[in-house]
């Protein structure tokens, strides 16, 4: 039996999974929607991953989780490592693109920039308190314009005269957009303007004060939008690399980190058939009212978190 490593990235919008070998080659990969059910989506990912590899040949010796539901799914799959998505993305991307200097990333709810030197992240920034210019903004504007967000990029590329749209803030951008629509601007120009607004908003906020050096890799859901890719290329005057596996970088990084942790914990594909239930307990010991999450596997408490102090500890 050869050793393999599993990585899962559970985001707010999509859940991604890979299995890699010891040389970090991808053996299996899955991408599907989270649909508000991180445990269910992860089970589906695990099932599909199992169907893509020969279980008599490979045995998963360590699992890693990342993304906003990393803790929950980490408890479910007995993960060796539970890592934040910034580290996981940096590790994943620098493994596939060892010479990368700048990683731009725009996801469903967040955006970040990672600066790399000699294959090691040396600086990063992530949006705080505001989700302006992320994927969910583009999705809601697509709905307003009656266009599928997947079509956005292609339509934007058809524009010769992008409409200028205020980029500072989503709320301002939206009222500016409505105004421009009513004025009679063409749809493709407005869509191209929106793509430019997303890129400019990113560069003016997350990218502020950062040296954006080539090679530049752009990833996250929004990197699938050719309009935004072109806007970045125009603004920065550099080639923008979009990897076809760009959406897998988080889970790929998590799998590499699980390998690197040196901690081997038994992982069983059977977790996909087990019942996992979460229960929220409000701690009444002080007015903080910590929300404690308890995770049960087939009725047995396996983990809990969310308490700020020891008075809220819940043990099995």
């Amino acid at each position: 039996m050869k050793k393999a490593y599993l990585g899962i990235d559970i985001g707010s919008i999509s859940t991604k999974g890979v299995i890699i070998d010891e040389e970090h080659n991808i053996l299996a990969s899955v991408y599907l929607w989270t649909e508000g059910n991180p445990l269910g989506a992860s089970k589906k990912v695990i099932q599909e991953l199992a169907s893509q590899i020969d279980l008599d040949e490979w045995t998963v010796v360590a699992a890693g989780t990342t993304g906003s539901a990393r803790k929950l799914v980490g408890a479910m799959c007995n993960a060796s490592i539970v890592k934040n998505e910034i580290t996981a993305h940096a590790v994943g991307t620098t493994t596939l693109h060892p010479d990368v200097r700048t990683i731009l990333e725009i996801g469903g709810q967040d955006s970040k920039i990672i600066c790399v030197e000699d294959g090691v992240a040396v600086d990063y920034a992530m949006n705080t308190l505001c989700a302006a210019g992320t994927g969910s903004f583009l999705t809601s504007q697509a709905r307003r314009l009656g266009v599928d967000v997947e079509e956005f990029g292609k339509i934007a590329l058809g524009s010769k005269n992008p409409t200028p749209i205020a980029a500072r803030c989503t709320v301002f951008a939206e009222s500016d957009l409505v105004h421009k629509i009513q004025m009679g601007h063409k749809k493709e120009d407005i869509i191209a303007g929106l793509c430019n607004a997303v890129a400019n908003n990113y560069l003016n906020n997350i990218g502020k004060g950062k040296k954006i050096l080539p090679p530049i890799v752009f990833q996250g859901g929004v990197s699938k939008n050719e309009g935004v890719v072109r806007a970045f290329a125009d603004s920065l005057g550099e080639e923008i690399i979009v990897d076809e596996n760009g959406h897998l970088m988080g889970c790929y990084g998590a799998a590499i980190l699980a390998h690197g942790s040196g901690i081997e914990k038994p992982f069983s594909f059977d977790v996909a058939d087990m019942e996992f239930v979460t229960r929220e307990v409000i701690c009444e010991n002080c007015p903080n009212h910590c929300e404690i999450i308890c995770v049960y596997r087939d009725g047995e408490l396996i983990d809990s978190w969310g308490n700020r102090c020891e008075r809220g500890v819940i043990r099995s």
Partner: protein
């Protein structure tokens, strides 16, 4: 105001309610009510009765005042400062009066009292029968308390991340705080301090020769209050880092950072309430950062830049800048921090706090920051 005896209160800020309470009780001979430790409820209460765009410290203070008055306080203390904080006393007073609270405010700003003698007179008004000598007598104990808290916490930040027994530092620290509340004299405080430091030094730790070092810089209130900054120092320390923070009451209101005695004397002589809390350190620090700034941008901005420069020049691995959302002096400092970051090639994590209660976002960013600077250090060492 009813004829009830005075019962003073000051908002929570780290653990400084201990020396402030001591000053009021033993020095002024008045009752003191500590606001309950801040919780989500404090912030919610404060935010509900505050203007939306005001900074988080205003909302925290508001919540503390309300909770303390519910516990029986009837005189609230406000100290002012060199940013918007300078007007907070008046605004707190107006809002709380509108809410129907019956209280007096000891608003220690120049606008109210005109000068240092006016302020002292203003304080004395609440304890008319108290002799000046009785008040002055407790000052050394209060100063000792502040210095002890700051030194104990400084030692914790630098070492707790390397403890062999989980929670060993925290246990001694909690004991220190509870005993400090019972201290009566300078000698009590001194003995407790030495006992605590001895206990700390006996704890088993495994600290590498060249540990990851992180400097914390930023806005006066948020940096000193662990509840407001979601215990950012402890979070980063416990990942395995030596955490440094210069800003505390010892450094900002008690001791001058000047190198020689003459400059120190000069700074003390110039102790300027108009520039509280920055008057004793702002000039000497500004001299050191001439290449970055020519003017003081108010509040703690000079200290933020001076300490960022100092930590960067000392080869620290990273800096964490904390501020309340919308804090103007600290926002002005950010472009300068960008320059320091580029000049010394030191990453800086910028955290902006409002009244959000979730820890997750801060944890994610802090963990990613620690991963980055520790991996970078490893790559450099190999």
């Amino acid at each position: 105001m009813s004829a009830k005896p005075y019962n003073l209160t000051y908002p929570q800020l780290g653990n400084y309610d201990i020396p402030i309470g001591f000053l009021v009780r033993k020095g002024l001979g008045l009752a003191y009510t500590s606001p309950p430790p801040m919780t989500k409820q404090t912030i919610e209460l404060g935010a509900k009765h505050s203007p939306d765009y005001v900074c988080a410290p205003f909302k925290c203070m508001m919540g503390c005042y309300i909770e303390a008055m519910e516990k029986g306080a009837n005189v609230i203390i406000q100290t002012g400062g060199t940013c918007r904080l300078g007007y907070y006393g008046e605004l707190h007073e107006q809002i709380l009066k509108d809410l129907g609270y019956d209280f007096k405010i000891m608003n220690l700003t120049l606008a109210q009292y005109g000068g240092i003698m006016g302020i002292l007179g203003g304080i004395k008004k609440y304890a008319p029968k108290r002799k000046w000598s009785q008040i002055a007598k407790v000052i050394p104990t209060v100063a000792k308390m502040i210095k002890s808290i700051d030194k104990v916490e400084d030692y914790m930040r630098k070492n707790m991340g390397f403890e062999d027994i989980p929670g060993s530092f925290e246990k001694i620290y909690k004991h220190f705080l509870s005993k400090l509340r019972q201290a009566e004299t300078t000698k009590d405080v001194e003995e407790l301090y030495h006992l605590t430091m001895r206990s700390f030094s006996r704890l088993p730790v495994h600290k590498p020769d060249d540990p990851v070092r992180v400097g914390i810089i930023g806005e006066y209130f948020t940096i000193m209050d662990p509840f407001s900054n979601h215990e950012i120092e402890k979070k980063i320390a416990m990942m395995g880092a030596e955490v440094h923070r210069w800003m505390d009451l010892s450094h900002s209101v008690l001791s001058c950072p000047d190198d020689n005695a003459l400059d120190m004397l000069r700074s003390y002589a110039k102790y300027d309430l108009k520039r509280f809390p920055s008057s004793i350190w702002v000039d000497s620090q500004r001299k050191k950062i001439k290449k970055y700034v020519s003017e003081d941008m108010g509040a703690s901005s000079v200290a933020t830049i001076a300490m960022a420069d100092h930590y960067a020049a000392s080869g620290f691995d990273g800096l964490v800048h904390v501020k309340s959302f919308g804090c103007t002096p600290e926002m002005d400092a950010i472009p300068v921090l960008h320059n320091i970051s580029a000049d010394y090639k030191i990453p800086i994590l910028y955290l902006s706090y409002d009244t959000q209660s979730s820890d997750t976002g801060i944890e994610t960013r802090a963990e990613a920051f620690y991963d980055m600077i520790s991996m970078r250090k490893e790559a450099r060492q190999s």
